[in-house]
Symmetry: C2
DNA sequence: CTGCTTGCAAATTGTTTGCAACACC
DNA sequence: GGTGTTGCAAACAATTTGCAAGCAG
């Protein structure tokens, strides 16, 4: 379940060297890279990958629902391969570090019907903002 | 409290015709405009406002903490003048409509210390995604 | 005069697209 | 040979910045 490459394969997504490398960069937890960061890491493994190819691959993975976009402040979009389990994000306002939070079962984020304005809900994005331990420590130096 | 112009004045923000018009555009509830929309509406009231001035005014209002940025999917940043009461957002995935939600006192969005990775929390952003009533109706036609 | 604000235009940044060359059944 | 993928470069979109001119105290 947790393997992005495997999930993409079972979804019938045609694999190529470039796409494999891009998907490999997106492996692991607490991964929330920008397209440019993904491209840079992909190039390290396979030198001749163009930016356009990286963007197209990412767009398709998102369309397949196997990669999510994280809406954090800042110009660059960030990609999160961890779509298996609904989770929330914790962002450091100082350095931009992002950690995943897996809510402990409460999942109190259902919206009362009275406050829903008649929307059909499809998902929730929760972003906690704060200062990470490293930045806190640096501030007190 | 709810008047943005008043809040800006009491914060010592120097007022100018351009800034007043921009702040006026940002009045009301369920307002989540992009910089370009704000600029367009501002021009309707005062023809010679440049985009740069609109951007600068918005950036300063955000820096003062009197206007918030809403992180929704889509390229353009959206500005929300309603910073008085912590609230959440409900976004239509079809048409992009955004409504404010004022949680009914539960505010269950505190983060247990165990799951906080040692962050000092400063805020939370909650974005519910769904399909608005109008879009639901349009889909069944 | 001095300092902050404005407006224009150009620069930056992030993302998308058109299109020819290529690889794979 | 047709379908789909790649890479380059150019197009786009959103935002920021440099700088000369304007306004207010």
């Amino acid at each position: 379940m947790s393997n992005l490459l495997h999930r993409l394969a079972t979804r019938g997504w045609q694999m190529t060297p470039q796409r494999r490398v891009i998907a490999e960069v997106l492996a692991g937890d607490h991964v929330h890279l920008t397209a440019d960061e993904i491209h840079a890491q992909a190039i390290a493994k396979l030198p001749e990958i163009s930016r356009a190819t990286a963007y197209k691959a990412l767009t398709e993975m998102v369309a397949l629902g196997e990669v999510a976009v994280v809406n954090v402040e800042g110009r660059a979009r960030r990609y999160d391969p961890n779509v298996d389990r609904a989770h929330q994000h914790l962002v450091c306002e100082r350095c931009g570090l992002i950690r995943d939070i897996h809510p402990a079962g409460q999942e109190g984020l259902a919206l009362g019907p009275s406050s829903g304005f008649g929307f059909k809900l499809t998902g929730v994005d929760v972003v906690f903002r704060g200062i990470c331990p490293d930045c806190s420590a640096a501030a007190t130096l």
